[in-house]
């Protein structure tokens, strides 16, 4: 009681972390009528800067629905490149792509594109712009959580600048090293892949026609993801020691290495903007919840980017947690209570574990150059390609429309 009275700000939910998952979470809850505060370390100008994060996100069809449901898609649509076709191939630097292609065409599963490629910078811009439209949503940035006291009747969050915020629920969207997760003594399963993702953007002479290509090279997948205009984003997974060298090469030599892998299928290419390096790892929290605390996105799970599913899992976390919380709120139930959080965890755990295991398996299967394995996986890709029901299942999974889906993922209002 005294805690609530001394608070500088009283909200229903406090979201720690104003990245893509945290901002989407805050918007979904505000859309549901709740009072929300988002706490973010970086000032908005840094988050919006072009050099902050050169990555792109594959936005599955279901994830686009989530953005639409919170009023963000209309801002994002102009920046979204529809994926009309995904081509997957095994290859070596010497021989180029193998002839056994796995070919996903969106017309196999219906009229919608398989998904979209969006630049993270555009996603952050649109989310921050949309947040300004919700008077009940406050983005406090730069600000940082110093301490949380989570009790039976409610929680109080103390910021490093001395402000006190009282809330019913704390959501940890504070990234793979989540301080909230650590403070709650939630253990994780974690290992590093011996790989680094080199990310850069390429401009090319010919249009990509919405085709995404994933080339399985021996050191890891090399993805060419279509962006708006005659541009593609490259996610080049490379062994750590080699990646370190690639990242410091001068532009000319780096371009030469890139060109060897990218090829000429889109005509003449040139590098656009800086290159970024991201170490790859797998992490899964042993539980997603604690008293008045729920973890979402990278704070709960990190997977290999091989299938472009990491952020989609985060958005499905957002949709499931928002629905659990908003349903409870509209019945007057305590939104930070155990059964509400248990519903969220039950809802998300299987999908997240499944995707972590599937991407890990794919990476292990393809990131090598063992002869018999190459033949077997090539035949496997070709077999999947010839079995329409199996292929449709994989495609629908990649679109994020498999299983018991939250309302926002289905394209319904929260």
């Amino acid at each position: 009681m005294s805690n609530r009275e001394q608070a500088d700000l009283e909200v229903d939910v406090l979201v720690a972390g104003g990245g893509m998952a945290g901002l989407t979470m805050g918007l979904a809850l505000a859309k549901g009528g709740l009072r929300v505060a988002i706490i973010e370390r970086q000032p908005p100008s840094t988050l919006r800067s072009a050099t902050f994060d050169g990555r792109t996100s594959a936005i599955a069809y279901g994830s686009a629905n989530v953005f639409d449901g919170i009023g963000v898609w209309s801002r994002l649509a102009a920046h979204a490149q529809p994926i009309q076709d995904i081509r997957v191939a095994d290859g070596t630097l010497m021989d180029g792509p193998s002839s056994l292609f796995l070919h996903y065409d969106y017309r196999d599963v219906g009229e919608h594109p398989l998904g979209y490629i969006l630049e993270n910078r555009d996603i952050r811009d649109s989310l921050l712009d949309a947040a300004a439209d919700y008077p009940e949503l406050q983005v406090l940035a730069p600000a940082a959580v110093a301490q949380t006291v989570r009790e039976t009747g409610g929680a109080v969050v103390l910021l490093t600048d001395g402000r006190r915020i009282s809330t019913q629920l704390v959501i940890g969207a504070d990234g793979r090293n989540s301080p909230l997760r650590e403070a709650a003594n939630i253990r994780v399963t974690r290992f590093d892949y011996p790989q680094t993702a080199i990310v850069c953007t390429v401009a090319h002479a010919r249009p990509h026609n919405g085709v995404a290509v994933e080339l399985f090279l021996p050191s890891g997948p090399f993805a060419m993801l279509p962006l708006t205009g005659e541009r593609s984003n490259v996610v080049w997974t490379e062994k750590n020691d080699l990646a370190r060298q690639m990242l410091v090469l001068d532009d000319e030599l780096f371009f030469e290495e890139l060109h060897k892998r990218f090829g000429d299928w889109l005509g003449e290419i040139r590098l656009e903007g800086p290159r970024f390096g991201f170490p790859l790892g797998l992490m899964h929290a042993e539980r997603y919840t604690d008293r008045r605390l729920a973890l979402i996105g990278d704070a709960a799970h990190v997977i290999h980017p091989i299938a472009g599913q990491g952020f989609n899992l985060g958005l499905r976390d957002v949709a499931a947690l928002a629905e659990s919380v908003v349903d409870a709120y509209r019945l007057g139930l305590d939104i930070g209570d155990g059964p509400v959080l248990a519903r969220y965890e039950r809802w998300r755990r299987f999908d997240n574990v499944f995707m972590a295991a599937a991407t890990d398996g794919l990476n292990r299967l393809f990131s090598n150059d063992i002869g018999p394995l190459r033949v077997a996986r090539d035949l496997g890709l070709a077999a999947v390609n010839r079995l329409p029901p199996v292929k449709r299942f994989f495609m629908r999974h990649a679109m994020g429309v498999v299983g018991d889906l939250p309302r926002l993922v289905k394209g319904e209002p929260i």
């Binding site: 009681m1 609530r4 009528g33 039976t152 009747g153 409610g154 349903d327 409870a328 509209r330 019945l331 007057g332 139930l333 305590d334 209570d337 155990g338 059964p339």
Partner: protein, 253 residues
């Protein structure tokens, strides 16, 4: 006290039932404790209560505080599992319980939750005799625990304001309810402490309806409340009133 309702003034509280609940009062808010089934049931019955009350008073259930300003009485409020949510939805809530310990647990928890709820250790008969009226009277899983059903239903019906409504829930007296609610829930699965319910006191829908009619209410509907043991979820089923059921009765304006 008024002379015209002498039967309803009698105390219908059964002291052995009161003692039964006092023994487990502290665990009301433990969603994994002895009241776990009630916690599981709570969202389903709250949804029903919210939607029926909102329909009666023309409220939008997606708006903030949809029950704002409505006076709601919860008879047999226990630890306040219904009172707190209804208070958050904007209602002015009075919770009464014959077990004093329940009232203490409920009041303490409401204070922790920062909610203003009027909890009183009294009976429906006493409030009725004092001339109190409410927009909504909740009569949830109580009637099967009272000593004199007719007198209790008369008093609780009398607490409903003209134009208001009562929502009542209880257990049907059928072989299936004996099998599920007594043998299944209390003896085999141990969801509820043994002796929580006395099957002979369960009411058939026709008996409950007759009692409410005598109290001046019009029964609008009864619907079944069924538990799916596989999903662990409760849901409403208008075709299956064999075990738990809930219904609405209104008092014309």
């Amino acid at each position: 006290m008024t002379a015209s309702n002498s039967s309803a003034q009698a105390n219908t509280v059964d002291e052995s039932e009161v003692a039964k609940f006092a023994a487990i009062a502290e665990s009301w808010w433990d969603s994994e404790g002895p009241f776990r089934p009630l916690h599981q049931l709570n969202p389903t019955r709250l949804l029903y209560i919210r939607d029926r009350v909102a329909a009666q008073f023309g409220r939008d259930t997606t708006a903030p505080k949809p029950l704002n300003g409505l006076r709601i009485l919860d008879i047999g409020c226990g630890g306040g599992l219904l009172c707190e949510p209804l208070s958050r939805l904007g209602a002015i809530v009075v919770g009464i319980d014959a077990t004093d310990k329940n009232i203490h647990v409920a009041a303490q928890h409401a204070a922790q939750s920062g909610l203003a709820i009027n909890y009183r250790n009294t009976t429906a008969e006493a409030l009725f005799a004092a001339g109190k009226r409410f927009d909504v009277v909740l009569n949830m899983e109580v009637v099967e625990h009272v000593a004199d059903v007719d007198a209790f239903l008369e008093a609780s019906s009398g607490l409903v304001e003209d134009g208001g409504l009562m929502i009542a829930a209880t257990l049907n007296r059928t072989l299936k309810s004996y099998a599920l609610a007594i043998i299944g829930a209390e003896y085999l699965l141990r969801w509820l402490p043994r002796g929580t319910h006395d099957w002979k006191r369960f009411l058939r829908p026709s008996e409950l309806a007759a009692g409410l009619r005598r109290g001046g209410l019009t029964v609008e509907e009864f619907t079944g409340v069924v538990f799916n043991p596989l999903s662990g979820k409760w849901s409403l089923d208008p075709r299956d009133l064999d075990v738990n059921y809930i219904g609405v009765a209104v008092k014309s304006a």
